[in-house]
Each structure stands twice: as C-alpha cells, then as structure tokens.
Symmetry: C2
Subunit: 124 residues, 2 copies
DNA sequence: CTCCCTCGATTACATTTGTAGTCGTTGATT
DNA sequence: AATCAACGACTACAAATGTAATCGAGGGAG
C-alpha cells in the first residue's frame, strides 16, 4: 500500500484523457483537450512530466516520442479521491453525504431504480 | 452569486470547529483540535487569519479577543465541495459516483432504508 | 508603576500548483 | 549538407498551502 500521490485538478484533466485512450502521446492529449481547455501545449507537457515524476504515469519511448500509459488505475485514483472528499468535507460520514447528493441532484427514474436495486442487494 | 472562495484541507478542519461551536475564539479552536491535530497554536491562528481574508469567517472583537463566526454556511461550502469533487473526478456524472460509493462503503440496514425512501420520494 | 503574558498582525519559508517559455537534440525537408 | 520543426528537459515565476516564528501593544500580576 504505497502512498497514493496527490493528483491536482489540472492533472485530473490529463489523466482522464490517458485513461480513455492510452497509450497516448503528448500530441494526442493536446489534441483531445484542444476544445475544452485553453491550455498552451507546453502546459500540457508540463503536466505530463509531473505525472511521470509522481508515478501516476509511465511511458514507452518509440522514436523520440513518449507513449504515456497510466501507472495507476482510474478506479484506484477515484477511490482515493472519494475517500479524501468524504473525509475532508463530511468527516467520513457516508450517509449524510449521500443524502445531500440525492436531495440536490437530478436523477432519471431509471437511475433511481438502479440505485434502489443496489441498495436492496446490500441489505442482505 | 459571488465566487465561493476555495477552502483548503487544513482550513476545513478549522471551519468544522467554527460551524460546530461559533462564536469561537482562537483558543477555543486550538482546544477543540488539540487531540486530533499536531498543529502548533500559531498554525491554527494563521489559518483563522486566512479564513478571515478569504471572507469565510467574520469576527467580533471583545476585549482584545476575536470571536469568530462563519460568514458562509456549512451547507453552502459543502455544496461547493460536492460540485467540485463531482466535476473533477467524475466529470459531473452523478450516478456512477453514487454507485461507487454505495458499492464500496458500509451502510446499516436502517441507513439503507432511509436512502431508499429518499429515492422513492424523488421518483414522482 | 513595571514586567510579563497573551492576542492578533506580520513575516518566513518550503512545497505544490497553474501556467508557460527556452534549450538542446534529432529526425525530416529541401 | 544545411535547415527546420517537433520532442522532451529544464527553467521561470506567481499564487496557494502547510507550517510556523517573531513582533508590537495592551491588560493583569505584583
């Protein structure tokens, strides 16, 4: 159980791209983010380097070019973030947090049914 | 709709105390955190000052001493954090996030029933 | 009246983060 | 062969954050 490195907001944007389409080059990531983000190319390259240093990414080099892949799974990282959010904001109290989300956000009937089913399965 | 200031991890610890027992003096906060945290008194005072600057706290002075109170409600701040977490980690996708929490964490039967009830009420 | 203690204010400083520019190298272009 | 474009490495720099020490003023102890 190594300490999970902390992934910053900007770095999450990068990681989402990598998880979706790894292995990816810097150019791939830049391309994928061109529409949503106003980052300069170098900004994205800096973020990729930092993610390498942190051990969140790995790479394989082919002719001058790095092909980046995740070193940690999306699920591990998401779990880490869930825990830290739950702890920081709710002191770890799960139910109140869920209640807030459920009461405040919109869900389709179908989604509601799915959630109810999951709850029912837990209940045994 | 002013921009909500961002509350850092350490600042959340302070705010939880203030929301729980405002108005509170620096000494009160220090006392409340003495067991859980290893912070020096000055660290806590620095955090209080920063929260004042950010407009998350207000104070009332009585004989040299500040009595701090929240300038923002706990609910506002929690909502802000929920949104930012949901966006950063799940790109705003509520249901998958809820599913992860529900599947991973423990809930008592009673809590499960309460959640199901809330879901049922939404369904109309 | 003097000294000390305490309070908030101010200063300190390393690390992380956001956001980018510059540099040296190498493969491609003319 | 000379040039250039693109890549990753390295450098830059301000703001935020974690974590604290020091300072000046005023109130209480003696």
């Amino acid at each position: 159980m190594d300490e999970q490195p902390r992934i910053s907001d900007a770095e999450w944007e990068i990681m989402k791209v990598i998880w979706a389409k790894s292995p990816a080059t810097a150019a791939d990531v830049i391309h994928a983010l061109r529409d949503n983000k106003t980052w300069k190319d170098n900004t994205i390259k800096t973020l990729l380097s930092r993610l390498l240093q942190k051990g969140v990414l790995t790479y394989e080099q082919v002719n001058r070019v790095y092909y980046y892949s995740p070193a940690l799974t999306e699920e591990e990282c998401k779990r880490q973030e869930r825990q830290s959010f739950l702890q920081r904001v709710y002191g770890g109290a799960l139910k109140p947090m869920l209640v807030h989300f459920l009461k405040e956000e919109k869900l389709s009937s179908q989604e509601i049914d799915e959630l109810k089913k999951i709850l029912s399965e837990k209940e045994k």
